[in-house]
């Protein structure tokens, strides 16, 4: 495994894995829709970090351009998602996801 200034690529893989799994844990554990949303951002960032690491170690800058696009999509997603959250709050007077079960059988 090649190293760059003493840090193997494996370390970045494990770090991103850990961040991604913390994001998954947050989505499963919490009930507040805003916190779940932030955990989704955390997962996106774990993937971004891994992509930058790969692009650095393989000497290909396409990975960094992809990260750029992921950031753009994440910004758009947050704007629409928070608007939906405000709508939900206006109708249900809560941001608790357990209350929003009207489609459940």
């Amino acid at each position: 495994m090649q190293t760059l200034s003493g840090i193997p690529l494996n370390y970045y893989i494990y770090l991103s894995t850990a961040l991604f799994c913390i994001g998954v844990l947050g989505v499963m554990v919490r009930r507040n829709a805003i916190i779940m949303f932030m955990c989704i951002e955390l997962m996106l960032n774990a993937v971004n970090l891994l992509m930058v690491a790969f692009s650095r170690y393989l000497g290909d800058s396409s990975g960094q351009v992809f990260v750029f696009f992921i950031m753009a999509v994440a910004a758009a997603e947050v704007a629409v998602g928070l608007a939906i959250l405000i709508m939900i709050y206006r109708n249900a007077k809560t941001s608790d996801t357990e209350v929003l079960n009207e489609l459940k059988l």
């Binding site: 495994m1 090649q2 760059l4 200034s5 003493g6 840090i7 893989i13 494990y14 770090l15 894995t17 850990a18 961040l19 799994c21 994001g23 998954v24 844990l25 947050g26 499963m28 554990v29 919490r30 009930r31 507040n32 805003i34 916190i35 949303f37 932030m38 955990c39 951002e41 955390l42 960032n45 970090l49 930058v52 690491a53 692009s55 650095r56 170690y57 393989l58 000497g59 800058s61 960094q64 351009v65 990260v67 696009f69 950031m71 753009a72 999509v73 910004a75 758009a76 997603e77 947050v78 704007a79 629409v80 928070l82 608007a83 959250l85 405000i86 709508m87 941001s95 608790d96 357990e98």
Partner: protein
């Protein structure tokens, strides 16, 4: 062991601790602040990886725009209560076990991986000049770039329409 290794461990430690704090903090505002710390640590990682432009954009977009939007919504809806109802304990327990299993699966899958095709790393790929050339010069990412601007327009119209009060 150079100093970059120590910086790497420090930034990883900060990122993981504050990411855990995002999940387990009682009040949503504390979660947001921890997430901002995580984003700064990730930006530090980008700097370590010689991606200066992405580090700057990451701080501007995430810490400057997205997290401010989150804080704004939390303040506006007055959600900063610590009385959020919690999930049942057995569901929390199962969630922790499930995410640990996911982590073990990923680590086991990547453990023996040998990445092929590693060339001599080029120090200048993360600079603005090189990224601009890749983005605009070779007609490779020009169409996605323009499409993403349409995506922004659609997102803007959608956000304004969704959060507008009903007039009738």
């Amino acid at each position: 062991m150079g100093i970059t290794v120590y910086i790497f461990w420090f930034l990883s430690f900060v990122a993981l601790i504050s990411a855990l704090n995002v999940v387990f903090a009682k009040s949503p505002v504390h979660s947001v602040l921890s997430l901002i710390i995580t984003f700064f640590a990730i930006a530090g990682h980008y700097l370590l990886l010689n991606a200066q432009f992405l580090a700057a954009v990451h701080i501007i977009v995430y810490a400057g725009a997205i997290m401010v939007l989150f804080l704004y919504v939390i303040m506006m809806l007055n959600l900063n209560k610590e009385t959020e109802p919690h999930k049942k304990n057995y569901i929390k327990f199962i969630s922790v076990i499930a995410s640990c299993l996911l982590m073990i699966t990923f680590v086991a899958a990547f453990r023996g991986a040998e990445i092929e095709g590693a060339t001599s790393p080029n120090d200048s790929i993360g600079l603005v000049e090189n990224l601009g050339k890749v983005l605009f010069d070779q007609n490779q990412f020009l169409l996605p770039f323009e499409v993403s601007s349409i995506l922004f327009l659609a997102a803007m119209v959608g956000a304004v329409y969704l959060s507008k009060k009903e007039l009738h």
